[in-house]
């Protein structure tokens, strides 16, 4: 691809990009979110038309105006979000659009099965062809997507952020498959923002930043920190300064907790651990081993069937999520779309979620400050030169009426600001607070009234962090806090977690990213099939031991 330029209203997504991929290599396309990786590949795949520049495939200049044209040239793409029909079987999905026919109309199931089977064997991609798509784990669905592209005759395979949805094990599987493809002479373009992965699998790497090519390097001749610098444009810290903790006490105590998942099957079995102040307890584990349920049980949105949860010595086993927030628990949910943010709400509305029923945001419907009302009235009286008799009456009438209304509406006079129910939301206070947090957490938003859905993933996560960290929490439950974030945002989030820890907060970190656990944790617990199988000191263990424990093995 030569001198490709593509602009969208307001942004230059690709600025004179030269991108050369040799036949039979695995080429990494590295860059932060919004660097222009996906746009460039969508141009190659015929989804976008470039404003300028040309594309040369096998020495011939070509014009790719549709995915079909791309496929005819042997270019296939596997998108971040799979394009499969969930109710069809694997085989049906693979042959879809190119079905072998019987009598010209009917699907020749036998032949299709045979064809696809041969195919899978050739590329050593194993998959149950008769299984319906929706029953498969994400990693297998992805394999089907790859097979689909190959079945359509792809020689150049574009994988767009293929690992973002995979577990570490699935990533290993994928890497094997990609290596196998290379041996078969296929060319692979591997789009990612994850340095380690790109470094591990690719032969050459092209780094993009803000729509331009920074450099193309041999993977063997570069390093993690060099790539990071090229990608972000500045030095990146992979380690954080941790203060020596003092006066530690137990903030969260979990005792023999059990819970079931959405299907009613046991998800947590006899879970017990505690998290102390000024400590990050990392929970390592392959996804789907009960982490989601654990976080939900701790946050108060999933019922606990046995055991106890103590938060600062308060038994909160049966307490609502709201009660737990009041007691100082903050949660960064794993899925910010589902549990973290209300996408149609503005940044401001999202920032006050959870504090919205507390002062200073919630106020009595009528001005709560009786004195202020009275002094206003008095001033008015004075200025009208009315006698003191009238003044006294006004005073009584006013306060009497106010008490009546307040008690009618709020149920409890005197403490209207802490009452739930029909209470005024002080938009001015909320706005000031939102503006302060936007500033403090560098939330890149046009203004506080922008709906959360218009923000980028990293910015959305900052909104969640701003909300959860600014509530003066005693405990932070951070679940997959950096998933889907680019390297700059990841560094920021991790730094914030350490900062909260250094300020005395107890942090429970749940992550499928072992690196993350490794870098941040003071202690590491391993979860496997709903049980905590080990708690380790990071200084006295190593990656292979943890990996073994995560896979259900025993350590010595």
């Amino acid at each position: 691809m030569r001198s490709i330029t593509k602009t969208f209203p307001g942004v230059v997504a690709n600025d004179k990009i030269d991108f050369v991929v040799e036949k039979g290599e695995i080429h990494g396309l590295l860059g932060e979110n919004g660097a222009g990786k996906t746009v460039l590949m969508n141009i190659l795949y015929g989804l976008y038309k470039p404003d300028d520049g040309k594309i040369v495939v096998d020495g011939k200049e070509v014009d790719i105006d549709s995915p079909r044209a791309a496929l005819d040239l042997g270019i296939g793409m596997v998108h971040q979000h799979f394009m499969v029909v969930p109710s069809l079987t694997v085989m049906e999905n693979i042959v879809l659009g190119r079905e072998p026919k019987k009598n010209g109309i009917l699907l020749d199931t036998e032949k299709a099965l045979r064809d696809v089977k041969d195919f899978c064997d050739r590329y050593r991609l194993e998959v149950d062809l008769k299984a319906p798509m929706l029953s498969l784990p994400v990693g297998v669905q992805q394999r089907v997507e790859i097979l689909k592209a190959l079945y359509r005759g792809a020689n150049i395979l574009i994988l767009d952020e293929p690992t973002s949805v995979l577990t570490p094990q699935e990533v290993q599987e994928l890497f094997k498959a990609v290596q196998a493809l290379k041996q078969q002479g296929k060319t692979v373009v591997f789009i990612s923002h994850k340095l380690r992965e790109v470094l591990a699998i690719c032969d050459r790497i092209t780094v993009l930043r803000r729509g331009r090519v920074v450099e193309t390097v041999e993977a063997a001749e570069t390093s993690l920190s060099e790539l990071a610098r090229m990608m972000v444009g500045r030095e990146i810290h992979f380690m954080f300064d941790k203060k020596q903790p003092e006066n530690q006490r137990v903030v969260l105590k979990v005792e023999n907790v059990e819970a079931v998942d959405d299907r009613g099957l046991p998800a947590l079995k006899d879970i017990g651990f505690d998290v102390r102040s000024s400590e990050i307890l990392g929970i390592a584990g392959v996804e789907g081993n009960g982490q989601t349920e654990l976080v939900e049980a701790l946050a108060g949105v999933r019922k606990v069937t046995a055991g106890r949860i103590l938060l600062n010595d308060n038994d909160v086993t049966k307490a609502s999520s709201g009660k737990r927030i009041q007691l100082g628990a903050s949660t960064v949910p794993e899925d910010r779309h589902k549990r973290g943010l209300i996408m149609d709400f503005s940044v401001m509305e999202n920032i006050i979620l959870g504090s919205h029923d507390q002062p200073p945001f919630a106020k009595g419907l009528i001005r709560t400050n009786i004195k202020e009302v009275l002094s206003d009235a008095e001033k008015l009286m004075d200025s009208l030169h009315l006698g003191s008799r009238v003044r006294i009456n006004i005073r009584e009438v006013l306060s009497g009426a106010k008490m009546l209304v307040a008690s009618l509406i709020l149920g409890s006079r005197g403490k209207p600001t802490s009452a739930k129910g029909f209470v005024r939301l002080d938009i001015k206070q909320a706005s000031d607070y939102a503006r302060r947090l936007i500033e403090e957490f560098s939330i890149k938003t046009p203004d506080k009234d922008t709906p959360a859905q218009h923000l980028s993933g990293g910015t959305q996560q900052r909104v969640v962090l701003a909300r959860e960290f600014s509530r003066n929490p005693k405990l932070i439950i951070a679940s997959q806090p950096t998933r889907g974030l680019d390297i700059g945002a990841t560094e920021y989030v991790r730094g914030k977690l350490v900062e909260m820890r250094n300020h005395g907060c107890a942090v429970l970190l749940i992550s499928a990213d072992l690196d993350e656990i490794w870098v941040l944790s003071d202690r590491i617990a391993v979860i496997y099939e709903g049980r905590i199988v080990a708690v380790k000191d990071p200084k006295k263990t190593n990656e292979s031991e943890l990996g073994l424990l995560m896979a259900g093995g025993k350590s010595d």
């Binding site: 709201g322 737990r324 973290g340 709400f345 029923d357 008015l380 129910g421 029909f422 209470v423």
Partner: protein
């Protein structure tokens, strides 16, 4: 005196700010209203074709309708009289909808509210009007609230779908009130109705000789109050949060069950107030099945009004005009009254149906249909 001018300045600043905000919001909402306006125009075009095909002159018919609805005091009064109850039921639908609940039982809540208000209206003679009227209104609101509370609790505790329960309760309300005015509370005479309410409970008529009553002020006030509650109170905030993303709301410490019960109960109360307004202002008694389907119209008007109180006010006037203008049209041009109904149906079809289908699809979890 300085203090007074200070105070005056403060007040004028506040009012100015409010007006500016209102203007800004209106400006912002104009583009959003475009699909609605196009749909209404389309409905009239298709309606004109229908008229042509059936051998009537659309110009003549629409002309008669327009003069019927807005041409004289009587027409205007009639239009707004018809619009008033629909404002209530539409606001009721809106409030529950914001919480993600589909309250299609406004008709029942409306009827119960009307009946409980009538009960208070025909009792307690001798009360001063400033106590009797509020008392009757509160009774109406409570009656409607109770009729919203039942499906709300069924939904929150047992997961019973509110579309089914609110609709079923509508029929219960219809037959219950029917029974009440046929037997225990039947006034002497042929008609199944209560006796007239005491004059002290009557809402004043504001445009004699039409039946238009002060109930319309109540409706407008309620529209403002609804918007205020949704946007400027914690309960409104929670209701909207639940409606948009229950999981995130729950994680944010909001009780979904409580919020849903609250929303559907308030929704019922609004519809009930509408019923009370009809009894106290328009009919002055409860007449068996006096509602020509105001509850159902409310659903349509809420959607045509773009699920916004201001839109609801405007759409209610349109529907009121179609009803009152339709009657005049029939009288003057011999075009059947049903053309008015056809126009209503067309407006609903063009505006509401696509929204409704999208909403139900989203809720039904059959998202793949869209993608």
């Amino acid at each position: 005196m300085a203090n007074l001018t200070e105070l005056k300045r403060k007040v004028s600043l506040k009012v100015g700010g409010l007006l500016r905000r209102l203007l800004r919001e209106l400006k912002a909402s104009v583009p959003k209203a475009v699909p609605q306006i196009i749909a209404i125009l389309l409905a009239f075009v298709v309606g004109a074709i229908t008229l042509l095909l059936t051998g009537y002159s659309p110009l003549e018919a629409y002309g008669a309708m327009l003069t019927g609805a807005f041409g004289d005091t009587f027409g205007i009064g009639q239009t707004f009289t018809q619009a008033t109850p629909i404002i209530f039921t539409a606001l009721a639908f809106l409030f529950a909808y914001k919480c993600g609940l589909f309250n299609i039982g406004a008709e029942g809540q409306f009827l119960i509210g009307a009946f409980t208000a009538a009960l208070v209206g025909i009792s307690f003679g001798g009360l001063p009007f400033f106590i009797h009227i509020p008392l009757a209104l509160i009774a109406g609101a409570l009656g409607g609230a109770a009729w919203g509370f039942i499906p709300a609790v069924l939904k929150a505790q047992r997961g019973a779908h509110e579309v089914i329960t609110t609709m079923m309760l509508s029929y219960v309300a219809l037959y219950l009130t029917s029974y009440m005015v046929n037997y225990p509370f039947k006034a002497p005479g042929m008609v199944a109705q209560t006796v007239l309410i005491f004059p002290s409970a009557e809402l004043p008529r504001i445009l004699q000789p039409t039946q238009l009553s002060a109930s319309i002020f109540l409706a407008v006030l309620l529209a403002v109050l609804t918007q205020y509650t949704l946007c400027r109170t914690t309960i409104g905030y929670e209701v909207r949060a639940i409606g948009l993303n229950p999981s995130a709301a729950e994680s944010g410490g909001i009780s979904i069950k409580k919020g849903m019960i609250m929303a559907l109960t308030i929704s019922g109360a609004i519809a009930g107030l509408g019923g009370a307004g009809e009894v106290l202002g328009t009919h002055r008694r409860f007449i068996e099945s006096f509602s020509p389907g105001y509850g159902w119209d409310g659903l349509a008007v809420a959607l045509v009004g773009g699920l916004h109180p201001v839109g609801i006010l405007l759409a209610s006037v349109l529907f009121g005009a179609l009803r009152s203008g339709g009657m005049t049209m029939t009288r003057v041009t011999h075009v059947p009254y049903d053309i008015g109904s056809i126009l209503q149906a067309l407006v609903i079809l063009f505006v509401a149906a696509p929204m409704l289908i999208r909403y139900l699809l989203k809720r039904g979890g059959i998202k793949w249909w869209n993608s």
